[in-house]
């Protein structure tokens, strides 16, 4: 398990770091690359904007209160180049999804998404191109 977590963190570090090639700061300036999280809740919004797409998720947190999570991910043009359109994610708005990623160092409900599981069971994940060969 420990190995699995380490491997996942490493993949995210690589992925998010190289994602920033599009014109941005390093994700390590914001996100704790060692803190991988998974949030299950209702997908409420998708902003297909630069420099990162943004997803909003309402999830039930500690004590039953509703947490409003915001995740960014790779740029729109990156998703376009791997054949994913906004509509592929937007069809899940209002439904339950599970978003995986790394969390902001400042402790806010903010993260970088590297995986999402959609209501129909489809799983989309950013993986290291080198590892996937």
């Amino acid at each position: 398990m420990r190995h699995k977590i380490a491997a996942a963190a490493c993949a995210v570090l690589t992925l998010v770091a190289i994602a920033s090639l599009e014109a941005h700061h390093s994700p390590s300036a914001i996100f704790d690359m060692a803190k991988h999280i998974a949030v299950t809740g209702t997908l409420t919004r998708i902003d297909w904007i630069n420099p990162h797409i943004v997803l909003a998720v309402e999830a039930r947190g500690d004590g039953g209160k509703i947490d409003q999570w915001t995740f960014q991910s790779n740029p729109p043009s990156w998703y376009r180049s791997v054949g994913l359109a906004r509509a592929d994610l937007a069809k899940a708005i209002g439904q339950t999804v599970t978003v995986g990623g790394v969390r902001a160092r400042d402790g806010t409900l903010y993260g970088y998404m590297d995986k999402i599981k959609l209501p129909d069971g489809t799983s989309l994940e950013l993986v290291n191109g080198a590892e996937s060969k």
């Binding site: 920033s20 390093s26 297909w48 790779n74 043009s77 376009r80 791997v82 994913l84 400042d106 993986v127």
Partner: protein, 258 residues
């Protein structure tokens, strides 16, 4: 018909043929790969037990220029006059907070790189780009006219083009001075002039730029050439750019991007 008249006609045809040949230039028209580096990651999709992997083809953006003819000698970095070196270093050290491009700013010329689409017309070239700051265009006369006398300074400048053999040479000037012409804090003055050379290598597009700024640089800087492959990916309007990460940055970490 006299031999003399036949000779005149033959000469006229020959002269016209030579003139036509001189006007025939390589056709640079086409759609070229996206100008900005993309993460060489892949999207893994699992659906009903079936796994597919969609990878990014980085080679389309970073072809090898090793054996391509026409490439000018280049250096990795520009040479700033001593009085600007500390400022450039400071900007570079804090790039994640100081680079206009990080905050949806326009990259300008030459930072935007080779165009995504070229439309070559007899008297002008049309360059189309995709960029997160918007989708700029440049219309570059190639009919010998001079630079516009009263054009306002801009991020993409005022350009004219001419052919040097099979190479299109674009002379761009009249820039605003709030862009960087490259990473690492490459600021410039309003005296910057950029010479872009664009040519074909087989089916690929070659692009190489030289930056001149007599106010800030000790000498013109010729950047490494870039080879870009043809693309079947249609141009698409860039979504608006909304940068919200600035206040969250806890350090100066950043990565190369353009």
């Amino acid at each position: 018909m006299s031999n003399r008249l036949l000779g005149v006609i033959a000469c006229a045809i020959l002269i016209q043929g030579v003139a036509l040949a001189q006007q025939t230039h390589p056709d640079l028209s086409g759609v070229w790969s996206y100008a900005i580096d993309r993460a060489p990651a892949a999207l893994k999709k699992e659906q009903n037990g079936k796994v597919t992997l969609q990878k990014i083809d980085q080679s389309a953006r970073h072809g090898s220029v090793g054996s391509v003819g026409g490439v000018l000698p280049s250096t990795p970095k520009p040479s700033y006059k001593p009085e600007f070196q500390a400022r450039v270093k400071e900007l570079s050290d804090h790039e994640s907070k100081t680079d206009p491009v990080f905050y949806c700013g326009k990259p300008g010329v030459p930072r935007i790189g080779p165009p995504r689409k070229i439309v070559q017309l007899p008297n002008e070239m049309i360059f189309l780009y995709e960029d997160i700051s918007g989708d700029p265009y440049r219309i570059i006369p190639t009919d010998g006219r001079p630079h516009r006398a009263r054009a306002n300074p801009s991020h993409y400048g005022d350009s004219v083009g001419k052919w040097d053999g099979d190479v299109l040479v674009v002379d761009a000037r009249n820039f605003v001075d709030d862009t960087w012409f490259g990473e690492d804090g490459y600021i410039h003055s309003d005296a910057m002039r950029v010479i872009e050379r664009i040519w074909k290598d087989g089916e690929n597009l070659m692009w190489q730029a030289t930056v001149e700024d007599p106010k800030m640089l000790t000498a013109p800087w010729t950047m490494p050439a870039r080879l870009t492959k043809p693309s079947a990916e249609a141009l698409e309007e860039s979504p608006k750019c909304v940068e919200t990460d600035g206040p969250r940055l806890l350090n100066d970490d950043h990565h190369l991007q353009r």
